[in-house]
């Protein structure tokens, strides 16, 4: 019996991944969004490599925030509309765990590709190699954080008709520490400084969010279900 919650976790993970795989076309959208925002910076500011190098950490990370928010909207919406979310909430297994599975699945299809795409973007913005690695590390620690924190806002707004802008208002301020630590790490790496401090901070935030946010998300989902 002890493994029941875990097997439910894997079942939800498998189901969500399968669902995502069946809608392959939609998978690319947040990534395209990420790429487009980043490519707007050289067009809007200047294609000068030195300038691009200076703004690159912020440019990539702001694009990552926006694209995470953009993809977040679909996290619970479909399941909420067809009643699956209610069934999940009614199941005897712990709701925070099941929702964590949903968030993990969502991160695997939306966060992980962003990390894989980061080196390409770094190339576009002519970032040095050290900064590229720092970008990959910070995205690896930061995108799960974006998903976990964003999921609280998504769960609160899922029942509303126009949750999109509201979600941005709710979640953006909470993203600011991640943005600060991540961009600082990338800038420091570009200047040849050690970045372990910033990475530890991000890791600490990730552990904190991993521990607490599933509980908040579960409470928020129950409220949205009414």
């Amino acid at each position: 019996m002890a493994s029941r919650p875990l097997s439910a976790f894997w079942a939800i993970l498998r189901r969500d991944l399968l669902l995502a795989f069946r809608h392959r076309g939609e998978l690319a959208n947040p990534l395209l969004f990420f790429l487009m925002i980043v490519s707007l910076y050289p067009l809007g500011i200047s294609p000068e490599p030195d300038l691009l190098r200076a703004i690159a950490p912020g440019a990539v990370w702001i694009a990552a925030l926006l694209s995470a928010l953009f993809s977040m909207e679909n996290l619970f919406r479909g399941d909420f509309q067809d009643g699956t979310l209610e069934q999940i909430a009614l199941s005897p297994q712990p709701l925070p765990l099941l929702l964590a599975a949903k968030i993990l699945a969502h991160w695997l299809v939306s966060g992980l590709p962003m990390i894989l795409m980061a080196p390409v973007l770094a190339l576009l913005l002519s970032m040095p190699a050290a900064a590229t690695w720092a970008l990959v590390y910070t995205l690896a620690l930061g995108t799960p954080l974006l998903s976990l924190i964003g999921a609280v806002g998504t769960a609160l707004t899922v029942g509303l008709k126009r949750g999109g802008v509201l979600l941005t208002l709710l979640v953006m301020p909470l993203y600011i520490p991640i943005l600060i630590f991540a961009t600082n790490a990338v800038s420091a790496a570009a200047a040849g400084l050690p970045i372990s401090g910033q990475l530890y901070f991000l890791a600490a935030l990730l552990v904190l969010a991993l521990t607490l946010s599933p509980l908040a998300i579960a409470a928020a989902v129950r409220i949205s279900l009414g």
Partner: protein, 257 residues
């Protein structure tokens, strides 16, 4: 003692008790504010570096304290409403949000006015100004969420979750921003051993802080009373109070809350 709290939790008694408290709270607020402003604007000596322009501190600092206090208050009330299903706690949390946002805005505006002669610009991306701005965003997000949800019970519960998540995040935001960039003068009052501020300036500051605190509670009770009347508009005691016992033609198919 407990029966008093139980009475406070019931809308009808709350309405009565709050009504009795408001004149007293308001009166003390006014008194403290007059004394604090007099001591701050006339009695306290000019600062040896900042001259007279530091006197905006007597509004700026209490407003900034209140902006943080009210957010925590909101989160605590939200938590109480969430755990014990207390209607009054919901109302308190909901009605304190706009007041908190106003205090945050006041702290930002006065900070900006103070910054002009001191730093030479209206706005700098200084750590504490920035975290105050983020706090304002948090308040506005909370208010927007409250407005977006129609059912008051759901709105209160959703708002409570948001406020609690936000209050966990406030220290993280504060320290990350502080670490990011700071230009602001260090804290001068909260140093426990010996505040780095002379008592002729400390007293008016503390009086103003107390006045702002009481002002908040006065305003909170007034707003809570209005909100209560609105939410309980179909209940018997409100209609008795308002002097019409006929059921309103609009309320036929709505449940009595």
């Amino acid at each position: 003692m407990w029966s008093f709290f139980h009475k406070l939790a019931s809308p009808k008694h709350f309405y009565r008790i709050a009504g009795a408290w408001i004149p007293w709270l308001g009166g003390i607020t006014l008194l403290l504010m007059v004394v604090g402003l007099y001591l701050g604007l006339w009695v306290a000596p000019p600062d040896y570096q900042q001259g007279d322009s530091y006197r905006i501190m007597f509004v700026h600092v209490p407003a900034a304290w209140m902006s943080l206090f009210i957010y925590v208050f909101m989160a605590v009330c939200g938590g109480i409403g969430l755990i014990w299903n207390m209607k009054m706690a919901d109302i308190m949390a909901m009605t304190s949000a706009p007041i908190g946002a106003s205090f945050t805005f006041l702290a930002l505006v006065t900070g900006s006015i103070w910054g002009k002669p001191m730093w030479g610009t209206w706005w700098v991306w200084d750590a504490r100004l920035t975290s105050e701005l983020i706090l304002l965003f948090l308040y506005l997000g909370y208010i927007a969420l409250q407005n977006a949800i129609e059912d008051p019970r759901t709105a209160a519960r959703a708002g409570a979750i948001l406020a609690i998540v936000g209050s966990v995040n406030i220290p993280i935001i504060h320290y990350s921003v502080e670490w990011w960039n700071t230009l602001h003068q260090g804290p001068t009052v909260t140093r426990m051993d010996k505040p780095a501020i002379h008592s002729s300036m400390l007293w008016p500051l503390l009086l103003m802080a107390l006045a702002f605190q009481l002002y908040f509670f006065t305003l909170l009770l007034m707003r809570a009373r209005v909100e209560l009347l609105y939410r309980e508009r179909r209940s018997r005691w409100v209609r008795e109070l308002m002097g019409n016992l006929q059921p309103s033609p609009l309320s036929n198919n709505r449940e009595v809350i």
